[in-house]
Symmetry: D2
Subunit: 361 residues, 4 copies
């Protein structure tokens, strides 16, 4: 299903080469004044071919808002935003029906929908569907920001080149603000050059490369989330895996922590000016599914872009034989960069639902 959320529900629609894509957001609080320049900024961080640009305002890709907004303020009714599709080059993918692209959803979608799904450009499985997700997240993060909650992510690795990690016990506001606007978000910006070189090398060799993204939520009050299946890890992962190419997620010390001992991994509590904190943050701000008041920190694994222009072996579904495939068209050799605001946005939608759950009755 392409809908998600209990309190603030999103319902995403669209296919890559169809008439349009968009989102309905139901359950937003009324009376929230929205800053559309800020929303545009978030969408431009995700937009293709926009990386280094000096924001050439791509009006055409900004959603038309059909409902839920009056005088730039949420009315409380469902908000629907639509992006019309233009300039699509369907012919580039003319062969995918016959030959499923390795590591894409062509084959699984074909089986799931008995061959009726729109395969042009990946159809509903296209990364393009993350645009309405970013739009919805951009709204949610504005509302959260007013409550003192900031969400920011950075490229924590491209291939084997790593950025620094967040300092889990002390993440400055300035860093959060800088990252949440960045086009190529890094804690240590010096590493950008090396990462870009690696990406360029992959492009040149008709290949692609994966990476990881680390995301932080600061200002989160302690006591949000619920036990068992209502835990913050459950909620965040259930939306984040909706982003194409995400294949893993770990909170706090995660997989690395699983190699350690309790005496190393346990985070001791202390009082800091009357507030309970932990000296380290291996728990990633979440214990028993519930926020501790420390920054929430998680990392996601992004697989390398499946579309590479090298010849690949696949099957011919019509003739039921083995076959080969050469994918033409525009491809991003590393989607990690553009996935950063998508991760942040999904997180914002998760957090607004988590907070809605607690303050009840």
């Amino acid at each position: 299903m392409s809908s998600w959320g209990n309190d603030v529900k999103i319902s995403i629609f669209g296919e890559s080469h169809g008439n349009g894509i968009g989102v309905v957001i139901d359950g937003l609080p009324a009376g929230e004044k929205l800053d559309f320049d800020e929303i545009y900024l978030q969408m431009s961080r995700r937009a293709p071919g926009n990386d280094k640009a000096t924001t050439p305002r791509l009006e055409k890709d900004f959603p038309e808002i059909l409902s839920g907004i009056f005088d730039n303020t949420t009315t409380g009714a469902p908000l629907c935003a639509v992006i019309k599709n233009t300039n699509t080059r369907s012919q580039d993918y003319g062969n995918v029906l016959k030959n499923p692209r390795p590591a894409h959803a062509d084959y699984t979608g074909y089986v799931r929908y008995n061959g009726f799904n729109d395969i042009r450009g990946g159809g509903h499985f296209s990364g393009r569907l993350t645009a309405p997700l970013v739009f919805a997240g951009a709204i949610c993060r504005q509302i959260l920001e007013r409550k003192g909650i900031k969400i920011a992510a950075h490229i924590s690795s491209i291939g084997n080149i790593e950025d620094e990690r967040f300092n889990g016990t002390d993440i400055p506001h300035e860093l959060m603000d800088r990252l949440s606007k960045a086009k190529f978000g890094l804690i240590d910006q010096v590493r950008e050059e090396k990462m870009r070189a690696l990406i360029e090398e992959c492009r040149m060799s008709q290949d692609s490369i994966g990476g990881t993204i680390e995301c932080a939520v600061t200002g989160m009050p302690a006591g949000a989330g619920s036990p068992m299946f209502g835990g913050i890890e459950n909620v965040i992962s259930s939306i984040v895996f909706g982003i194409p190419a995400v294949k893993g997620i770990e909170f706090g010390s995660g997989f690395e922590g699983s190699k350690s001992r309790g005496s190393q991994n346990n985070d001791e509590f202390y009082y800091d000016n009357g507030v309970v904190k932990t000296r380290t943050n291996n728990h990633g701000g979440i214990l028993g599914g519930i926020s501790s008041g420390m920054p929430i920190i998680f990392r996601t694994a992004i697989k390398p872009t499946p579309s590479i222009s090298r010849k690949q072996r696949t099957v011919d579904l019509n003739n039921k034989t083995d076959s080969e495939l050469e994918i033409n068209g525009r491809h991003d050799p590393c989607i990690v960069v553009r996935a950063v605001p998508v991760i942040e946005s999904a997180t914002a939608i998760a957090i607004i639902n988590i907070l809605s759950e607690v303050h009840k009755l």
Copy 2:
């Protein structure tokens, strides 16, 4: 929330030292004959202090079934199973209200429930609550087994000691069957000794150790699951993070795959006797959220047991000062071993819901 599922819904209840724990399972298909010895076996794999035992049938820990079963067969009505609590040693944890245990949910639960939660033995956050989860999963996997679907997991690492990984393109039935009954599940059983030695070393040093568990689902038909938030990764992770101490999950090549190139990570398709397969299985049996027909494979990170008997620093919530804590009582220095059937069980519940979703109308 402690309930989960759209089609086969579970609702887990209970607190570690309360009157009883259990589960309601709503939406099971009617007419499924259950093998209670098999269910008992699964529960005994999870039971504490039972590791090497020659199945000393712990009748007292086997749930009483209140409803939903007639003549050992599901009636289609909600099935409720209850395990009464006995032999609890509340006094061991008498100090947790005052001093939250590091890496436990004591503090976050305290804030979430304004101090009203039952803190004895961890209350509703206790690992003991995984017993009804295993019970529910044991039923689901019997139903799945009849459809040719097998679920099995193994200890893929304890600390830095690793087991082999599943061969993602060829997992023999015999291995699945062996692992799904094992008390200390390993692919390469020779490694058990080393792992046990490490666990024992941690126990001796009043410490604990984490690890990872790898789980496989074989016999899964292609075309199950849904795009975006209905993906198999989303569904599995949304239940698996309900298991205490799980802090990470990765599907297929996961985090390792994020370091690789598309040409390495893409799994090429081929025909094997008329069936579409992939030559490698870096996608973990899931593309675009939907099953490919290849084994579903994922790995979870389990943090080291938080309860260690070393003195630890914490706070005194009453006096609002820093404090120290020494945890007494029985603790398992490595919960990874017993978590194996819990992971399998949660997966079974996830898979039965995923399959229910597809075969509609």
Copy 3:
């Protein structure tokens, strides 16, 4: 499905002649001190054979609470309550498998569950399952009462004998309190005798009789509920039709109002000491799905008890022929009386969910 609710979720289980019945309530606020005498009172209003009794405390029918309560106070964890079955007379219904009872769920349950459902005493379809519903509702209404919200219902008709209706613009606290404790709840108590005579007449003639129940909610704040499918009418009806024998519901002037003109049915607004009220209450306290602050009022239609001891025609499912049936056993010729607290309880669970939805973020 036998589970209901988004914020305060109930999951009801059990079969009439199985081991036990009960309910899990997940999402209750923590820290609510419960008055168990009050809960017992509500359950005794519903209990069979208890109508005129001077409360012979039927301890055996009071649920055992397994979880979610500590020191008589909610912990915030799921609350499970179980009533063990005793004194069931299975043989009375020994023929229902073969011969479905007219107007019962025997036949439809048989088809739904391929003959595997537990048919003894109606199984999961039994009116006995309303006991845990009353238990859950009794808890919710205590919490609501503390917020100034009262819920009470009365027998508005038995057959053609009618009670007065609530005065929709002025329902005294004393009336609400009296009705919410009554065993034979009437606004005009003089009519009890006539109603009892009619019921007795039906019993004597081996027949049964239906009726209607009118329910009011006072103290409801204006602005609760949501548009369209989140409306108060939607939420209340979606739980109330879960009560066996309910076949209709109308809010405010309902079916009678549908015969009237707008100039008659429209409720004009006015200010009463600074509070917006309506001069009449044909809207039943709900406009556009949302509460107006006036009392919520609705009426439900209860069909005559299906079990009558007259000989009835039915089918023989084994031989696939027409057949006849004589139902023996204890039957209540008019379930309307005992359904009153059940309607109130379902309403309480609905209202607590409606209120939880509004006060978000």
Copy 4:
């Protein structure tokens, strides 16, 4: 919330005088060829000012489909349809902010959304929002029709003028087909004249009139639906009360049946050519929440149109005083006629979800 459904989910958006209204339908089966003329016909039955017209194809009111359809066939991805708003006359309702209209949601919406809701033309509470509901229902009924399931409703009363009722044991295909296309649907068409005269009389006297709609579902297989809260009555009522002005619903003999005796109301079973049927249909095709195979029959109460042009008393929310109001603009003195296809559509969406639930695994 303006979203509904577990398997086939709809999410409706829009405000009367906003940029557009529409619906996202998620979970439709793939491969369903749609007849858009048929969808148009259904929408034109609901459209205002279209009653006697010879289908002057109002292209402008037909939704633009943005996704989920390829070659007139469902792709299985979410289907989004949008109707742009044109020709709205906002000034007609310029005074509603200050003076809430009696029997409208103006006041309750104002409280619910702290005054931020879009009040022009009723905003999200407008009857105009039923257009996308009819669109969604028109798709669902085509899919159901292919499974032999027909849905049709008729005006069972306007004021005190009644149509015949459905013969619950024998509803001819021809009648279902005629009604499901009718602009002024009656079983006994002779009564149309009288009803129209009454409506005209109300219009002339600046008043309005309510009525009832009876709806039937034929071809429904036995065994669909679930016990308790998953019952067909629960599901249908939870969507039908989302239609503005619906204030009551009754299934089968409903309120009338509540006055009767068991010996009258019980429907006896018999075999008709090997199929179990009932001789009468007071149960409305539903027993224990589950379909019996007999036609599903229910009746809804529609209140008189709240907007009447007579002067009415109300409040002045700005000055907190009593006030008066005269509503100008176009109003339909009886919305019952146009509500018929809306009821059918909501029913179709309910039924497709009910059927999806059963055929699982």
